[in-house]
């Protein structure tokens, strides 16, 4: 997957530049909310519960201040990515113990026609590897700046 294919999936209404939550469950709730507002999910509770159970498998806090909570669930009909930025950071049980500041929530249906789920997940993980770009993404004040940052500044 190319970065512009990932960028094409991102939506301004699914971008939260100033996350308020201070705990892991609150973060999941805050990230799912724009999907509910946008009418992208049938059941908010079901999505949150599936995401929480995914965390049981192992934290999606991948370290370096990034968390990628994700799941497949029948409660959505299409793949969606919600991007959230927390200035203060939230403990997400990451291996390196660093608080997470940059969140990518990825939800997809079990039957995803183009089979985008794993490629998208892989591309997101790859896109945050570069520390300069990561910092630029965390510092992005708006959607436009974020898109610029994720595409290499």
């Amino acid at each position: 997957m190319k970065i512009n294919e990932l960028v094409r999936i991102l939506k301004p209404e699914l971008f939260i530049p100033g996350m308020q939550s201070g705990t892991k469950p609150a973060v999941l709730d805050e990230l799912v909310q724009p999907l509910v507002t946008g009418g992208f999910v049938r059941s908010k509770g079901l999505v949150i519960e599936t995401l929480s159970k995914r965390e049981t498998l192992g934290s999606t806090g991948i370290g370096k201040g990034v968390a990628v909570p994700h799941c497949r669930t029948l409660a959505v009909s299409d793949l969606h990515i919600v991007v959230g930025i927390s200035k203060k950071g939230v403990d997400f049980d990451a291996l390196d113990k660093k608080p997470a500041q940059l969140f990518f929530l990825i939800v997809a249906p079990p039957l995803d026609g183009n089979n985008l789920y794993l490629p998208v997940l892989g591309k997101v993980v790859e896109s945050v590897r570069d520390s300069k770009l990561r910092q630029a993404m965390i510092a992005a004040p708006d959607f436009g700046s974020f898109l610029k940052a994720i595409q290499g500044g």
Partner: protein, 112 residues
């Protein structure tokens, strides 16, 4: 748990697929995957809240289909693409009952 029957069953299936499908690929991306047993236990707890009759229906279907519960869109079963009666959807969206596709027998979940 206040969740209704169909949502519990959907949750059960989503977690079942989660354990089977993505673990290996995600591990190679650098995700921690240590909690398989914990997740399996969580699934057992969810199963306890599903009445045995419906759990049996799910398990019987599971021997034939990878996904016993399928979404319905525009009155079409996305398991076999049969057109369902519109009245089905009106009931299925709000009822606590479990509805199955007349053609393939899969359990239906109205996503919209």
């Amino acid at each position: 748990m206040t969740r209704n029957l169909i949502e519990l069953m959907v949750l059960y299936q989503d977690l079942d697929l989660m354990l089977k499908e993505t673990a290996e690929a995600e591990a190679t991306m650098g995700f921690e995957m240590e909690g398989r047993e914990k997740l399996r236990k969580a699934m057992d707890d969810i199963a306890k809240n599903i009445s045995p009759r419906f759990l049996r229906t799910y398990q019987r279907l599971h021997t034939r289909f990878k996904r016993p519960i399928v979404p319905v869109q525009n009155d079409v079963c996305l398991g076999c693409f049969a057109k369902l009666p519109t009245s089905y959807g009106e009931k299925g969206r709000k009822d606590q009952m479990i509805y199955t596709c007349e053609q393939c027998g899969r359990i239906l979940y109205w996503v919209e």
